[in-house]
């Protein structure tokens, strides 16, 4: 008996191996026969199965405002306004106007109630804003936020440290709000069970694995709902699938109808899968390379910076790391910024020959060694490998200095590096773009150690109240065009797959293009 059981085991293992190898080489488009199961169409009792890549840790409004975890609960918590088809639409805010350069007055809808029935008033807005600021936040915008002054239950005054409209709109679109009472009632301040004013309430939440949202019958907003407040399906079952190959299998086998933030490495296989609709949408982020402007070979040697810039092929980076799904960024700024001018073109494009010329012009005919500081995981690591390869081809020996996220910022602050990855999110106006690069607001010098008095003369003029003029912006562009302290590379896309008969889903354009899951349509 013993011999046969061992044989049986061995047989089924080897069989499994052959089946899967056979299976693996031909893309699993030969998934089970027939079309993926179509979910019945009438709205009563519809269930939407969603797969997302980023597991969760903490469901309080503060935590979710950090990016990458927004998609799941942006139906449970709501924001003041939303950005739809190029214009701002009020969700919690009925109307808003700018009193003077630094203060805005906002009026809320009345009778807003969260899923526990607690009324949502201006004091809750003040409480949420203060909570986000003290907890510290990944988005630089939170340093532009000053204070909230409650006028009455439905109106409040919001003062900012900057006169840029974009700052107000970004805060309005991005910050998730909840009632103070709900937070106080919850044993751990909504850390494991979210309660918000949105169209859905969370009925089941398993940390890092899955959660279920069900449509609220008592949703306060009744008419002319913006897309962000739609609830086209009754229950949404979200499961987190961190592994790319599992995500591919799930999409192709029709287990899920919506797959969000999918890893680009499997895009070719999902494209070729039958009855699966793939969407690649710019996710409102920009990526580039920043130079260390103090005390390094690149700091005061423009030709060297140009040599490095010419040596890198953005299209090569896009093809290798994002399988072609990203667009080259050849201008300073983003189309989503209200005061963006497409004419601000970057003077640099991939030209290996010119790179070598500039290298000799910079005084290093036989090459130089520079240090690239980068995160040690995921895309940043791959991008660094590629950049090292490209620079190597141009005769620039690039040493990779990997840091893990926990010690990244401190490592940059030490200044022992030449180039690093630099990027940003949500550019609703150009002050956010230039602020991120020159960033003089928080400390006397930016993270990239700019200290050119000519630069700060232009930048301070632009920062002054009323300084947000086209000429000041043009001067900033011309300074960067001349000095090449920051090299634009590409704008990333977010990758969505829809199946089971669903055709479209509305995305939060200015914030990582994360999906409003309730807005999915046939």
């Amino acid at each position: 008996m013993k011999k046969h059981s061992a044989l049986f085991l061995v047989l089924c293992l080897t069989l499994g191996l052959c089946v899967s190898c056979g299976q693996a080489t031909s893309a699993p488009s030969a998934a089970p026969s027939g079309e993926a199961p179509v979910v019945e169409t009438d709205s009563a009792g519809t269930t939407l199965k969603v797969a997302l890549t980023n597991p969760f840790s903490g469901t309080s409004a503060i935590n979710i405002s950090n990016p990458y975890r927004y998609a799941t609960f942006s139906q449970v918590y709501e924001t003041l306004i939303a950005y739809e088809d190029g214009k701002y639409v009020g969700i919690l805010a009925k109307e808003w106007k700018k009193l003077d350069d630094y203060t805005w007055q906002v009026t809320l809808f009345d009778d807003i109630k969260d899923s526990q029935g607690n009324p949502f008033t201006s004091s809750d807005v003040a409480w949420s804003f203060d909570g986000q600021k003290t907890a510290g936040h990944v988005l630089r915008i939170y340093y532009e936020f000053g204070a909230v002054e409650v006028v009455d239950d439905t109106t409040f005054k919001l003062t900012l440290n900057t006169d840029s409209d974009g700052a107000f709109y970004l805060l309005g679109v991005q910050m998730l709000l909840c009632t103070q009472k709900a937070s106080d009632d919850s044993p751990d301040q909504l850390a494991t069970m979210p309660v918000g004013t949105g169209p859905y309430l969370c009925t089941k939440y398993v940390e890092g694995s899955s959660c279920t949202l069900t449509k609220r019958s008592d949703y306060w907003k009744k008419e002319n709902l913006p897309k962000a407040s739609l609830a086209n399906v009754d229950t949404i079952e979200i499961s987190y699938v961190p592994e790319a190959v599992q995500m591919l299998g799930t999409i192709v086998s029709g287990n899920v109808q919506v797959a969000g933030e999918v890893d680009m490495s499997i895009s070719k296989d999902v494209d070729s899968a039958p009855n699966v609709l793939t969407k690649y949408i710019s996710n409102g982020t920009y990526n580039g390379l920043a130079f260390n402007m103090k005390g390094r070979a690149v700091s005061d040697n423009k030709a060297l910076r140009e040599a490095i810039s010419y040596a890198i092929d953005p299209q090569g980076l896009i093809d290798a790391v994002y399988t072609g799904h990203a667009t080259i960024m050849d201008t300073y700024g983003m189309a989503t910024a209200s005061d963006y001018n497409p004419a601000w073109v970057s003077g640099i494009s991939y030209d290996p020959e010119k790179a070598k010329e500039k290298l000799t012009e910079a005084g290093y005919p036989d090459g130089i060694t520079i240090t690239l500081v980068s995160n040690n995981v995921g895309e940043d690591a791959q991008l660094s490998e590629l950049i090292q390869g490209y620079l190597g081809a141009a005769g620039i020996n690039c040493v990779l200095d990997y840091v893990d996220p926990a010690s990244g910022a401190a490592r940059l602050a030490e200044g022992e590096w030449d180039i690093t990855h630099s990027g940003g999110i949500g550019v609703l106006d150009m002050s956010l773009f230039w602020g991120n690069i020159y960033n003089k607001s928080e400390t006397d010098m930016s993270m990239y150690f700019h200290n050119d008095p000519a630069l700060y003369e232009i930048y301070d003029a632009y920062k002054l109240a009323g300084g947000k003029t086209a000429e000041n912006l043009q001067k900033l562009y011309e300074y960067e065009y001349d000095n090449v302290t920051w090299l634009p590379l590409f704008n990333k896309h977010v990758f969505f797959a829809l199946s089971g008969g669903y055709k479209d889903i509305y995305l939060n354009d200015c914030y990582m293009s994360l999906p409003y899951l309730g807005s999915v349509t046939r």
Binding site: A191, V206, E207
Partner: protein, 316 residues
Amino acid sequence: MVRYILKRLLLMLPVILGVIIVVFTLLYISPGDAASIILGTSYTAESAARIRETLGLNQPYLVQLGKYIFNLFRFDFGDSWVSGVSVSSELITRLPRTLLIGSLSIVITAVFGILLGVTAAVNQNKWQDSLCMVLALLGTSLPGFFFALLLALVFAFTLQWLPPYGMGGPEYYILPVVANALGGVAMLARQTRSSMLEVIHSDFIVMAKAKGLRRRDIIYRHMLPNALIPVLTTIGMQFAGVLGGSIIIETVFALPGVGYYLVTGCNNRDYNVVMACTIIISVAFSLVMLLVDLLMAMVDPRIKIQFSEVKHGRGK
């Protein structure tokens, strides 16, 4: 024997204290801190300093350590600095998952490991032997995620028998357990084969045959118990590895367990998470090692005597 067990349980306290001190020092001297994770790209000196102040990271080493141990006595594991979720509630949900997957996969590892090892040893230098050897080698040379994804591809997506990931009824646990067990089978099979070969040529095996026992009884009643010592130690060590949870299994099958929680905790320098996980692991680990020693004594009387010796000093 009971005195020996009590002595070992008492010895666990210094071990746990040792673990706390060592791990805390490692966290303290490792570069980077939780503030950079919380602030991310908008890291500035002032905001980082403010967060370190609130988290108490600026206090001297001994004060922080003392405070942590003081809280420990009040069974307050504190909250995760990054997610704000209380560590103890998090562990209460994650530990059973890891232990369930871990212990089930150890059972499978033991069964298949010993089965393969015995088949290889009994048919030494025949085709079964080399087949088991190659299978065992496959187990150690290809990483966990390769087998995990293979299983998911075959049984979840192609054959659609089992759910590919996530949590729910018992069927959700089948694939992760098998994937987790495959790695261990290789080492155990080889270890069993090697210690079986040592026993196969002994006289009492010929004696057992002379008694008229069937081949199978001889193997399982006489050969295996004698070959178990190194096998038991290997199983014990593998179980210890399993306690830390397997990051690969937890990511591939989206089953949040202690492994993923601990690694993210370390990466985020989330002191409370790392300390709590390591304490739980070291307690569970000491218990497992005690169990292994007792099992060894039960299986092999020669070792049992040494244990009774241990009670009254070093006997000859």
